[in-house]
Amino acid sequence: MAADDDRPDQINTNLLPSAQFNKLERVANTFRETFVLPFRQTPRPVYYHRKFARVPTIDQCDISDEVCKYEATEQHERDKKVDMFKIKILRKRLTHCNWYWGANKYEKCQTEREQYQDSAVNYHLRYGELGRTSELYEYYMKQKHRMIWLRRRQEAGDATAAYTD
């Protein structure tokens, strides 16, 4: 996918089809080619994405080690944002597919719909129903309670209740 896949497309899917194609873009492109591009410097500036090293997670920290806990919370927030962006991309794919197919969307967009719904369910299992001001140990305890619940269901006879990451 392109580097900016998480940003919205320039085409607004609510506009009329005639307004979407080329009129304003042609004017803007001619302006850009005549007044902007000739003055550009050739060694173009470059930007990078920040690389974060993996640190020990909350389950590997001592109970009284505040520095380890702080770094684990930072890492957890970053991972949560990454998961949010993944779901945004899948949702955007689904909406584009729906818009494209219109009346046929229930037949043609099955893969996108399945992907989005599975990822949404997994996100909810991991991060949902906890609130905005939750701390890291609450997410950790949620995982623990989920494992216990699944184990009890499995012991009670439900074969599909297995813990997966």
Binding site: R40, Y47, R50
Partner: protein, 190 residues
């Protein structure tokens, strides 16, 4: 509602006064203070105030010429000459500068200019917070040790002359050693 009719006379008086003054606003001669030389003295024109309109023009002029135009010129210069940055992978064994993590050319220029003066990098900020977390953790552990020591001394009552010197400030190792030596010297001289 019965009070509205009593305002009829004052409003008529006010309207009359207003209309009379508008009709005569061109040539009203005042008394002595405005008399100049040459026969035609200055007239004081009675008209509504132009204060707000003049002030609006003044402030628009100020903010546009000193705010909008310089910043727009700076932004167009950055975008036309440099343009938005392109994304690449970090090369091996290279630590990028803080302004090389940004895409917008205006913010790149500002961050590169004010790098360590007004804006601190993400790594520096992070290390500072980690240090404060560690320092407060150390302080709290010292407090817990002190209270535990006091509690045990009170329970066991078996220590006679042991006193723990609490380090409640940013004292360095050297200072505590000097204080210890000073106390030892006092004890020896007794």
């Amino acid at each position: 509602m019965p009070g509205w009719s009593s305002l009829r006379a004052p409003t008529l008086n006010g309207a009359r006064f207003f209309l009379n003054n508008i009709r005569r606003s061109q040539n009203v001669h005042t008394s002595a203070p405005k008399m100049g030389g040459g026969g035609h003295a200055e007239t004081m024109v009675i008209k509504p105030s132009q204060y707000q309109w003049n002030r609006i023009k003044d402030e628009l002029h100020f903010y546009i010429l000193l705010g909008v135009l310089p910043l727009a010129a700076f932004a167009t210069y950055c975008n036309v000459v440099y343009g938005p940055a392109e994304l690449q992978d970090i090369p091996e064994d290279y630590v990028p500068m803080p302004h090389e993590y940004l895409k917008n050319p205006v913010s790149r220029k500002l961050v590169a200019f004010f790098n360590d003066w007004l804006m601190e990098s993400y790594e520096k900020r992070y290390e500072k917070t980690v240090y404060t977390v560690w320092r407060d953790m150390e302080k709290q552990n010292q407090r817990l040790d002190f209270w535990k020591m006091q509690r045990l001394m009170g329970e066991r009552q078996d220590q006679k002359n042991f006193y723990f010197i609490p380090d409640r400030s940013n004292m360095s190792e050297r200072y505590t050693r000097e204080m210890y030596d000073h106390i030892q010297k006092i004890k020896k001289s007794d």
